[in-house]
Amino acid sequence: MSNVPADLRYAKSHEWLKPASDGTATVGITDYAQNSLGDITYVQLPKVGTVFAAGQVFGVVESVKAASDLYLPVAGEVIEVNTALDSAPETVNQDAYGAGWILKLKLTAPDSVNGLLDAAAYEKAIA
């Protein structure tokens, strides 16, 4: 049974997003995604300052099995990336919603978060 925290928003492509009150958000991949991928061996991070549209590929997560594109759930500018994943990508397996976060974003339109799935809808999507 996958862990789906109630306070996060989700994309169907298995990224999670945690909005903050200052118009920024933290993004990672879900517990379901890390479990499906298996041992994560590499995370390709975007450059800070890059502006992405909603649904755009912002990076790649590789496991022993496969390489999978990462899609940004909403539009925004990358303000920070988790460089600790360069040397310890397995952190995504170990703590997908905590130390395994991937990037922080300045949202282009903070309201766009409302268009994402809530925990109940995401649980249904992966059931």
Binding site: G38, D39, T41, E62, A67
Partner: protein
Amino acid sequence: MSELKRTPLRDFHAAHGARLVDFAGWEMPVQYRSILEEHKAVRRTAGLFDVSHMGEVDVKGPEALRFLNNLVTNDVAKLFPGRVLYSPMCYPNGGVVDDLLVYMRAPEDYFLCINAGNIDKDIAWILEQAKGFDVQITDRSDDYALLAVQGPTAVAIVQSLTGAKLDRIGYYHFAEGTVAGIQCLISRTGYTGEDGFELYHPAGDAVSLAEAIVKAGAAHGLELTGLGARDSLRLEAGYPLYGHEITADISPLTAGLGWTVKLAKEAGFIGRDALLAEKTNGAANKVVFFKTGDRRIVRADTPVLGVDGMVVGKVLSGTLSPVLNEAIGSALVTTAASAGPLSVDIRGTLINLQLVKPPFVELKKPSS
């Protein structure tokens, strides 16, 4: 989707938390908790693999030796009771039908272990080649289950379950005996590059044997290990896998398995003329092994680039070496380009392939 075949241990795997996948038509455990951790456990202590999907074939009769020596490229005449031989089995054009193990139980009594995905093809091929020879070929694949205990503590684990004197069984030798009270062919072989045993036993006894090994192995750090770790272990050891480093299009000589091709065998063998020509004229392509110094896995079929950026081949196998913590792999490249430099393009990043003579890590196999 056709129904997947199951080994007698399918429910045992599920009960132990395995992730089961379709492997060559078989529902097999790819991993239990982590491929990387299972891999390291085999190098550090021991792992238990279910390889019951492999095929087994009895070859018996007055002309068994003559038939087998015509069938495979290595020299079966070197065998004696209790000795095992690794050999490719080739088509007339030198391509590989399969690679297999030949066990000699007694004069006129041999036993083959063949790859799971090739069982039907191999049996048909072997029966076709047997015409005119006084031999009986019997597919025993459904009768046997096969468990592999591999790693530095494998001997201690298996020894705790058997009265057979394991220290007298050399590498690529075998004995018949009981393990945990179950009749086994105890073979000091494996495909991980570690010391260990492969235990052929009646399919109906597989769960009992697996449970006994897990129990005995607990004190020796044994872990259940899946096919994911088996693949990274064999690649780290530099062993070929059928369908990757050897195929119907990649001969044993191209694959660097010249030591298994006995061109001087008196009576010849299937594929000899083609392999002799390849040896004489030089092969067009060569299988090379590489590491990258980078964690990005270079996956099978990735084009390999030569000195001028032209495509000179393709990747055959690629994984992350959990021991080296970098990507390793094999590639088929033109002989002219095989000395390098070689590179691959991974999503816009050019990564240099550092050519390596395998094994990638120091192996601790016993002497034969």
